[in-house]
Symmetry: D2
Subunit: 127 residues, 4 copies
Amino acid sequence: VTELPTFMTLLGLSIEQRDEGEIGLRMDVPDGWMSPFGAVHGGAIAALFDTGLAMAVARRLTPADRIATHNLNVTYIAFSRERVLLCRTRILSLRRAVATVEGEVVTAAGELVAKAVGTFGIRRQEA
Amino acid sequence: VTELPTFMTLLGLSIEQRDEGEIGLRMDVPDGWMSPFGAVHGGAIAALFDTGLAMAVARRLTPADRIATHNLNVTYIAFSRERVLLCRTRILSLRRAVATVEGEVVTAAGELVAKAVGTFGIRRQEA
Amino acid sequence: VTELPTFMTLLGLSIEQRDEGEIGLRMDVPDGWMSPFGAVHGGAIAALFDTGLAMAVARRLTPADRIATHNLNVTYIAFSRERVLLCRTRILSLRRAVATVEGEVVTAAGELVAKAVGTFGIRRQEA
Amino acid sequence: VTELPTFMTLLGLSIEQRDEGEIGLRMDVPDGWMSPFGAVHGGAIAALFDTGLAMAVARRLTPADRIATHNLNVTYIAFSRERVLLCRTRILSLRRAVATVEGEVVTAAGELVAKAVGTFGIRRQEA
């Protein structure tokens, strides 16, 4: 069992194996991230995207390669009262030094909560 | 003493009164948000921006008004090994139903760590 | 025949009816928008997105409603040497006062050139 | 006299020398880029930013270096009926392979029309 980084626990994040071999990021939103109005905090969703998009890039690289978020653009579609959120990703481009990824955060029922596009810098280990 | 929302504690956020009557948001980054490489996690910075920018808008409204993040764009400038980060904001526009704000996250020494621009929807209480 | 706005001519834009009743925006890039290195200028692509995303929203409204771009985020994927570019769009949300749309600019062969997400304010005509 | 690229003429762009040795980009908006409602087209403003921000980076590089826009995020603040617009820029970071820049489009009277942040990839000529 690999221990998850602490921030993932703070956000209620877990990695789930999906049917088609895809790996996804799931957030079981802890109470502390719910607003007084019963909606998931936007900051938690942004952190979910930052983690989920970077993970999607990292899976295409070797463990020694390093990635850094250059830009993360999050568009919020709807407040979510649902406490289980999933982050789906699609790599738009993967080059030597830069990758672009889009992602959607959806409820378990598939309702769109937020959309993000990220640009990541890559520093590949020298062979 | 007002109790802070739990997510603020999870992120190490506190509100600080500044000289000129301005209010700022400060993050004393908890250990859990530091990467294995000793840098503040990008998701924590995004959450700091979401909170700080929304607060800057909220201070111009009445307590009964509601705001919702429509778009948050974060550009990461440099990794920060510093554990004390400040979020400075500037309102770009404030209209009846929409506000735009920019912000910078800087170290205590004033080094720029990240830049963000946010668009927020406003639902004003009916008079 | 409806006359197109002048800026559409300056950009080489035309509206094309697609099989499924969808309407798309096409750019036959004029010489002036090609860089010295033979690539379509990024500004032309941004203008194509601004027009195409707004059109996608406008088609869901009545002619008297007004829309304004609040935020346009463009991620450039690849330089295009191709002179025919298409803008595909998908409405992410459409509410009373705000709409969000994503779009992709692709070559005729379907190669992804750029991705955008836009947030638009709507001022609906009073009934 | 250096001849300007054609797209700059199509957009009414010109480079102006400012007092402090700074170079700025000015747009004398051609009729064709005005909307039926008398406002400058958002696409023209996006193209102005893409050009102005890239120019700000290019001036810090050697002529043989190449830059590519990775991400351009434009936040529209107010419609402009003014036909003379200026693009002010500030370099946020300039590294070997990536630069970030922010910019503002203002009227001659200094009114803020739009704000942008851009991320640019740099391919430096080999020494």
